[in-house]
């Protein structure tokens, strides 16, 4: 099976975006008779041909169940699946593949930690800290575990620019705090949270830290050892990989002490009606046949991103962010929501007198795909007093010309709705 089809180039050279775009079949599609302008990458990114091929090659030539058979296909499938785990380990610099658990996505990863790590430990009066900036997936699992245990959810406030209030965090961190669950990059606003300083503070009090990295991994180099976090959660489909596959990184000492989350095949060594012996890490947390093709596809997505270079991806996206911010700020009646100094390539905005939902429809008629709504971050919307925003989010394969099309389509919206 081919790895990434891109040849590594020197780190200083900018990305050849035209060549990159040719590797993404969907980017040459038309929508409503217009070339697709895909600016909804924070919701889900698109796939290069090498990822699509990896998945279809697997189904065409290699599929069998993993970790079970002695026959050739099962061996090959297992090798590819475990090979992907090793790629993901390197991708986030985990110490060992025992710390890399395949899950359906970020949401499942957080739920796993809530139920397997937090639930057995929490007592009435204990506290879990989240920030106001969180996606619902990093709020609701904690509310559920609080309901189950009598623990309290405490919310770190956000500032007007869309940052997590560090001073308020320090005062909320007490000897009742049992866990900090924090986003690395805000999906609704694009804010890059300086998580190192939050982690350092939590460490001083021995509070473990879970990071929601769903929006971070496609755009930043993530090193879980350098971050010194305890759990790191991310999804494949936001980093050019398939849907339905993601990763929970967990510190081995914590994972080893956690009970399994789901029971079934693959997570056991021996079963009798008297006693079941659980499997070792990471399989203890992977009950049932996994998303084998998804994991293999995600491994190839990692190859692809690394061949391009995460640093060069970040540079390219930052240029797009700066260009988009300047162009959008000049649109009459447009207000950018979320103006943190450090941002991923996400611009959330409102247009005076035009509801985001109407913007979404009018932009779509021009082939421009953006997200409109609350972005699964209703507390953030409430903070700014808006029911919804429009959000354009960029990937390394987007171009300044596409941002021009976005701005032109906004002018059309003004024309249509006045």
């Amino acid at each position: 099976m081919s790895a990434a089809s891109v040849t590594p180039v020197p780190a200083c050279a900018p990305l050849d975006v035209a060549a990159i775009r040719r590797e993404f079949p969907v980017l040459s599609m038309s929508v409503h008779g217009k070339p697709l302008c895909y600016l909804d990458n924070a919701a889900s990114s698109q796939h290069p041909q090498c990822v699509i091929d990896a998945v279809s090659d697997y189904y065409e030539t290699t599929h069998a169940n993993v970790h079970r058979g002695v026959h050739a296909l099962s061996q090959q499938a297992t090798d590819l699946f475990e090979g992907a785990r090793e790629k993901l380990r390197r991708f986030v610099n985990a110490r060992s593949t025992r710390e890399v658990i395949f899950v359906r996505g970020t949401t499942e990863a957080i739920n796993l930690v809530a139920q397997s790590y937090a639930r057995p430990r929490l007592r009435s009066g204990d506290e879990i800290l989240v920030s106001r900036l969180e996606h619902h997936a990093n709020i609701v699992p904690w509310q559920m575990v609080c309901e189950q245990t009598g623990a309290q959810l405490r919310v770190i406030p956000m500032t007007r620019t869309g940052e997590v209030d560090f001073a308020a965090f320090k005062s909320l961190l007490t000897d009742r705090t049992r866990l900090l669950a924090l986003t690395h990059v805000s999906n609704a606003l694009g804010t890059i949270v300086p998580v190192q300083q939050f982690i350092a503070e939590a460490r001083k009090r021995g509070v473990p830290v879970l990071l929601d990295g769903a929006q971070a991994v496609p755009h930043l180099e993530v090193d879980v050892q350098a971050l010194d976090c305890d759990f790191y959660c991310f999804s494949g489909h936001k980093m050019c990989g398939p849907t339905g596959i993601g990763v929970l990184y967990g510190r081995e000492s914590l994972l080893a002490a956690m009970p399994p989350w789901q029971g079934g095949g693959d997570m056991i060594l021996a079963v009798s009606f008297e006693r079941t012996i659980y499997n070792d890490l990471p399989y203890k947390f992977e009950a049932g046949t996994p998303h084998i093709a998804g994991a293999i596809g995600l491994g190839v997505a990692v190859d692809y991103l690394q061949a391009l270079g995460l640093n060069r991806i970040a540079d390219a996206e930052h240029e797009l962010l700066e260009y988009a911010t300047a162009r959008l700020a000049a649109v009459p009646g447009l207000e950018i929501i979320g103006t943190a100094p450090q941002k991923a390539a996400v611009v959330s905005f409102t247009m005076r007198g035009i509801h985001p939902h109407d913007l979404g429809t009018i932009l779509d008629s021009e082939g421009v795909a953006i997200r409109t709504g609350h972005h699964c971050a209703m507390p953030v919307m409430e903070f700014y007093g808006v029911p919804a925003t429009a959000r354009a989010s960029f990937a390394f394969y987007n171009t300044p010309a596409e941002i021009d099309r976005l701005v032109d389509a906004l002018a059309l919206a003004r024309e249509v709705l006045g």
Binding site: I354, P356, T372, M381, P387, V416
Partner: protein, 148 residues
């Protein structure tokens, strides 16, 4: 995809200047409609004279389709009996959701302007929210209504 089919002049006008957009002290009934995904939210007030809707108004915020639809609703149901309003609800539902609907669009007057919404499936729930909310108000239903 023809935007002018969706955002017809009548709809743009009723979005900019919604009619009967006011609270109603002493309303006989009111109901709330809320579509959390898109953020459309409205409260619909009804005053009844026996079986007849003597006044109807709304407040809230939402997209052009939801605001215009609610504004057009208030103009079209005032003075009607409850059964007449319910028949109109059924007609509007068919107009918005069924390709094979045999609705006499001309007979609907300004409400016919909403016939273009059917071609935009993601927007049907915006147009129908106020109608479901009216239905809830007429049946004095206390739970908020949603159509998404």
């Amino acid at each position: 995809m023809d935007l002018s089919e969706l955002y017809r002049d009548v709809i743009v006008d009723h979005n900019r200047n919604p009619r009967n957009f006011r609270p109603m002290p002493g309303a006989d009934s009111h109901a709330e409609g809320f579509n959390p995904l898109c953020g459309d939210r409205l409260t619909l007030f009804v005053k009844l004279d026996g079986d007849r809707i003597s006044d109807v108004s709304f407040q809230g915020s939402g997209c052009a389709i939801s605001v215009a639809s609610a504004s057009l609703l208030t103009e079209s149901v005032r003075g009607r009996t409850i059964p007449e309003a319910e028949r109109l609800f059924a007609t509007m539902h068919a107009l918005l959701t069924r390709d094979d609907a045999t609705v006499d669009v001309a007979a609907l007057g300004k409400l016919g302007a909403l016939s273009g919404v059917r071609a935009f499936p993601a927007r049907v729930k915006c147009a129908s929210l106020c109608w479901h909310t009216l239905d809830a108000a007429l049946h004095r239903q206390s739970e908020p209504v949603r159509t998404e």
